[in-house]
């Protein structure tokens, strides 16, 4: 039975070729059911009611946290539910960055970063009078290792790096980056938005201090994301948002904070979203992260082989290791025009700067067309893509 049958949208729209999972993934029936079942059978606020229904909701919410923790090898108190990876990174910027980065310090990021792991650090440096240092790429679009080493020094307080580039697919050796950061006395923030959904990721092995990812790219609902943080760091950090649930006790003149992780979860959380995310993780585990990675690797190799046969097509980068993401340009066809032609053939690809304007500028391009995979994609999707690119070339010939 094809994996596509697990995904109602793909199962219904049989001629749809969805090649934009780096943007957001489609949702399996089990995730849709988990969210809906929660509302139908267990809906109540968490951590509040004495009554049984509230206890059931709390149990489901905290079990979801346990599921996330086990999935990436952290402890439940190290798992903070956020809206998405963007909010998770902003949490680190406000609660850690604002209190540890001073004038004259520096923050090191890479040119591959998505705006969500770029703009917060750029703005932090502006506010603090610190220096933003940006790691360049080598000619194959790997991170330039010598440049990385030369940028991280005793004044580096934070290194913030993506695990897998959303724009061009480069996989970064984040364990190595973490070692470099730690040797300099800095903390490392990993944007794992494009890795956690597609490959085994172990928070402890990487030795990351903070790691952020979004639920919706890993078959979960939108509006739920995760910040993973080392307990000893999270303990010392002040809250990000103030309000209900994040407090221990409140008097007119003072407030004490709740324990981890609730200190960082102000207000009623996205309970159904967390339950949906746990169902998504169960689904990912039922297939196996190694199997997903292998499937995407085979599909990527198959696609690269096909694309290389097309005249006037440039694949961006030739990194040592690539995730299931391929960006390319065509001579004489703007990526948006290509995406429109592909759309008319029911093929969904992303075209644009992929929220990576600094990267596009460095590569001296304005936009690319990007295809990205997940477990439901097949070789016949790629065959359809190949034919449609040929068709676009005829339209614009």
């Amino acid at each position: 039975m094809s994996i596509k049958t697990n995904f109602p949208l793909l199962n219904k729209q049989k001629n749809l070729v969805y090649l934009d999972s780096a943007s957001t993934s489609q949702k399996p029936q089990s995730v849709i059911d988990a969210e809906s079942t929660f509302y139908k059978t267990a809906n109540a606020n968490v951590h509040r009611g004495i009554y049984k229904l509230s206890a059931a909701a709390t149990e489901l919410y905290e079990r979801a946290r346990q599921t996330v923790a086990e999935f990436i090898n952290a402890t439940p108190e190290e798992i903070i539910f956020t809206r998405n990876a963007t909010e998770a990174i902003n949490l680190v910027m406000y609660s850690y960055g604002m209190h540890h980065v001073k004038a004259g310090d520096n923050v090191v990021i890479s040119i591959l970063e998505h705006h969500s792991n770029f703009v917060p650090w750029q703005q932090l440096c502006k506010i603090k009078g610190a220096e933003l240092r940006v790691i360049n790429l080598d000619k194959n679009c790997n991170l330039d290792l010598n440049h990385t080493k030369s940028l991280i020094d005793k004044k580096t307080k934070i290194v913030a790096i993506t695990h897998v580039s959303n724009a061009i697919g480069t996989v970064i050796d984040v364990k190595h980056a973490a070692d470099l950061a730690h040797n300099a006395g800095a903390v490392i923030v990993i944007d794992a938005s494009q890795s956690v959904p597609h490959m085994p990721v172990d928070f402890k092995t990487i030795n990351a201090d903070f790691m952020a990812f979004s639920g919706h790219k890993m078959f979960g609902p939108t509006g739920i994301g995760v910040l993973v943080g080392k307990k000893q760091l999270l303990k010392t950090m002040p809250p990000f948002l103030y309000g209900g649930d994040m407090i221990h006790s409140v008097s007119i003149s003072n407030t004490t904070w709740n324990d981890l992780p609730w200190k960082f979860e102000a207000g009623t959380p996205n309970i159904a979203g967390a339950v949906g995310l746990a169902a998504a993780i169960d689904y990912l585990k039922s297939i196996g992260m190694k199997n997903i990675q292998k499937h995407e690797q085979q599909l990527t190799d198959y696609t690269l082989n096909h694309l290389q046969k097309i005249n006037d097509l440039d694949i961006i980068g030739n990194p040592k290791q690539r995730g299931g993401i391929i960006s390319f340009t065509l001579k004489n066809i703007h990526p948006h025009d290509l995406a429109s032609v592909l759309d008319s053939e029911n093929i969904c690809v992303r075209a644009g700067h992929h929220c990576c304007q600094p990267l596009m500028k460095t590569l001296k391009i304005t936009a690319t067309a990007r295809i990205s995979f997940h477990i439901y994609n097949t070789k016949s999707d790629i065959d359809a893509l190949y034919a449609a690119i040929k068709k676009a070339q005829q339209v614009f010939a």
Partner: protein, 142 residues
């Protein structure tokens, strides 16, 4: 047979409808391409896709006496600039400020998907910005 139409399923615009010969001709051989010295000039980008348009306009007796454009981007953005420039040359500026999305779509003679409207409208936006600035008025919306 029962058919259900789900949200966002599809506007039914084919590539052939969007990329008519007319559009591709203007894209490949843009009219009024270039710059005008000492003319009114403005530049704008479509941040979604990085389309760029520079418009140069000379206004005499409240008419567009000359117009040229330069830029880079997708076929829709560049062809619509070419078609627009060709069409509004010697037109009354008041009349030009009244042009709408429907007018541009008629000029281009194509069907377009919602996601591409910004590409199509970029050049008219820049033209209007220039005229409003010339008239000392604030532009209200796009």
């Amino acid at each position: 047979m029962k058919t259900s139409k789900s949200i966002g399923t599809f506007e039914g615009v084919s590539a052939d409808q969007m990329y008519r010969e007319h559009i591709l001709d203007h894209y490949k051989n843009p009219r009024n391409h270039g710059t005008i010295k000492n003319a009114l000039h403005m530049h704008d980008v479509n941040s979604l896709c990085g389309d760029e348009i520079d418009m140069y306009i000379s206004i005499k007796n409240n008419k567009i006496s000359d117009i040229k454009f330069s830029g880079k981007g997708c076929a829709i953005s560049q062809a619509s600039a070419s078609v627009l420039a060709e069409n509004i040359k010697r037109k009354d500026i008041e009349e030009v400020t009244k042009l709408t999305r429907e007018d541009i779509q008629d000029l281009l003679g194509i069907d377009i998907t919602a996601m591409r409207v910004k590409c199509m409208m970029l050049s008219l936006k820049v033209v209007k910005l220039i005229i409003y600035k010339h008239l000392g008025k604030e532009m209200d919306g796009e």
